[in-house]
């Protein structure tokens, strides 16, 4: 698991840190940070900074969507028309 401090290094005064009781892929971690949420990692568990009750609800909603999105993506065919060897061959 990537050390999240590498992505967002500022220390933030904790008010309410909410446990995330499931593993998060790097893509979901960065997506949450991209959307303005602060994350921190404690051992294998993540916590999100939610300063108010409403923000806990908002965080849980977006997290649920992002986790569902990951499941949805697995049902979409991959973009195989773009192949690495096309370009390696060209560069030679």
């Amino acid at each position: 698991m990537t050390n999240i401090d590498l992505i967002y290094s500022e220390s933030f005064p904790a008010k309410v840190w909410v446990d995330i009781n499931q593993p998060l892929s790097l893509a979901v971690q960065t997506e949450l940070i991209h959307r303005g949420w602060k994350l921190r990692q404690l051992d294998v568990c993540f916590q999100a900074f939610c300063p108010a009750t409403w923000s806990i609800t908002a965080f849980n909603e977006i997290l649920a969507h992002l986790l569902n999105d990951e499941i949805m993506r697995k049902k979409i065919p991959p973009n195989t028309p773009v192949l690495l060897n096309t370009f390696v061959a060209t560069s030679e």
Partner: protein, 481 residues
């Protein structure tokens, strides 16, 4: 072609969540559609249940294959190939760095050396060898750009290169464009007459009003802004009204002046402005605490500046913003404008080559800047090596392998991978490793924000903004960036 792809009606696509109830979906061809959560689920699970109009839209944008659409796969390949032409058609931008010498002592500049420093200049033999390599590129259009330092300090070497390239081109008959990037402080009437006669364009830096420009680009005489404006005026008078393009670099000091910076460009008769963030290279990286800013600080500045640009357009003053134009080109045009930073595989080396004063060839301007800080790992070879040798170097292979957006970790499922690509040179500068997961890089964070921002703008756009967006998206709109 995978079995899934051939069997099902669903074609490859990715999506990015806009909010809790909607996403923007992007097909392999780069066409996009805004979908509700329900529409996304139906598209993936039961596309035949989509309403006919939505289904037709998604079929026309290559999200779905119709029962009788036998040519869809070939059309997708063709569309992808058209987008990749900028990196498949050969190196079209060749940057020659005749000297590192420069009058300025900018805090964020990675490369320049003072006038009295010696040993930072190309030899005539190296100039000649670089010109020969340039014509080994298969590209039918070649841009030769002179950078520095301030290349006008060695105008003799510029003239040597231009004269030789034009002589060689009598046989090759390529479309050639020359650009000199300079402070313009050294520009003379005689130089302008030569540049006019040889159709050479100038690119300069204008960071904003005098106080800001002079702070960013210090001279002992504190008149950097005035001298650049004098150079612009001289060039326009002798070469022509469109002789000079200008770029600005955003420093910490710039953040408080977005409107004044835009107004300065209008005041000085420019029809294009390119709002660039500071690069994390070289001296700029070492001074990051003093000069740097966060992505939110830059995006806040950028939005205000873009708003000012749009206000000027609404008043009838045509002004094109370069970053917006590059992103809109990606989103709205099937033909890529060729911006090096947003290519997959990377444009570094495939679209650009840099012939440096130190006798080496680098894959991009940023790579040669990195070398100035001691990291020479991105050298492709030495000036005089054939293009084939440069392209088969281990570094070049690594650049390609680490920059395929549909295969790189973190990019594979990104909705914007049709428009973007990992930046291995930037990753090397930021983390010391070309294959760093793209998601962690500053390049990814900034461009993801830009794609998302412009998708939001397009979703809520009025006719006026759409008119501008499609106009700017056209590659021939021309950016010297």
């Amino acid at each position: 072609m995978s079995a899934n792809y051939a069997r099902g009606e669903l074609l490859p696509f990715s999506f990015h969540r806009m909010d809790n109830n909607s996403v923007v979906a992007v097909s392999a061809t780069g066409d996009y559609a805004f979908l509700t959560q329900q529409e996304l689920a139906t598209l993936v699970e039961n596309p035949e249940k989509l309403e006919l109009k939505k289904r037709a839209e998604l079929q026309s944008k290559y999200f779905l294959k119709g029962a009788s659409s036998f040519g869809s796969e070939e059309l997708i390949r063709s569309r992808i190939a058209a987008r990749k032409e900028t990196v498949l058609a050969g190196q079209s931008l060749h940057i020659i760095v005749p000297t590192l010498q420069c009058e300025h002592s900018c805090q964020y500049c990675q490369v320049s050396r003072r006038l009295e420093d010696v040993g930072h200049t190309m030899t005539p033999t190296q100039i000649d060898a670089a010109c020969v390599t340039i014509f080994q590129s298969p590209s039918s259009a070649l841009t030769i750009e002179f950078q520095g330092g301030d290349p006008l300090l060695r105008f003799d070497l510029i003239q040597r290169a231009i004269n030789l390239i034009q002589t060689i081109n009598l046989v090759h008959k390529r479309r050639i464009r020359f650009v000199i990037t300079s402070t313009l402080h050294q520009l003379t009437t005689e130089m302008c007459e030569y540049l006019r006669d040889n159709q050479v364009y100038l690119s300069t830096s204008l960071d904003g009003p005098a106080a800001l420009h002079n702070k960013n680009r210090p001279l002992p005489t504190r008149d950097s802004h005035a001298r650049t404006l004098s150079g612009i005026e001289l060039a326009r008078r002798i070469i022509g009204p469109h002789a000079v393009a200008a770029l600005m670099t955003t420093t910490k000091a710039s953040l408080a002046h977005p409107e004044a910076i835009v107004d300065e460009y209008v005041k000085n008769g420019f029809s294009e402005i390119f709002m660039r963030p500071l690069s994390l290279y070289g001296f700029a990286k070492r001074n990051i605490k003093h000069l740097g800013y966060t992505l939110p600080e830059f995006t806040n500045f950028y939005q205000k500046a873009l708003q000012r640009v749009l206000e000027w357009n609404a008043k009838g003053t045509e002004l094109r913003e370069g970053t917006a134009a590059l992103i809109l080109n990606k989103l709205l045009s099937p033909f890529d404008a060729g911006y090096v930073d947003l290519q997959s595989p990377t444009g570094s080396g495939l679209a650009v080559l840099v012939y440096n004063y130190d006798g080496y060839v680098y894959p991009s301007d940023e790579a040669r800047m990195l070398a100035e800080t001691g990291d020479c790992s991105l050298r492709l070879g030495t000036i005089g090596d054939s293009l084939a040798e440069l392209m088969t170097s281990p570094v070049m292979k690594q650049l390609v392998v680490t920059s395929i957006s549909t295969q790189a970790a973190g990019c594979k499922t990104c909705a914007f991978n049709s428009y973007c690509g990992p930046d291995p040179v930037g990753a090397q500068a930021e983390f010391g490793e070309m294959s760093t997961t793209a998601l962690l890089t500053e390049h990814c964070k900034r461009h993801k924000w830009l794609f998302e921002y412009f998708f939001h703008k397009l979703r809520t756009a009025d006719d006026d903004f759409l008119d501008i967006a499609y106009r700017w998206a056209h590659p021939s709109g021309g950016s010297d960036a």
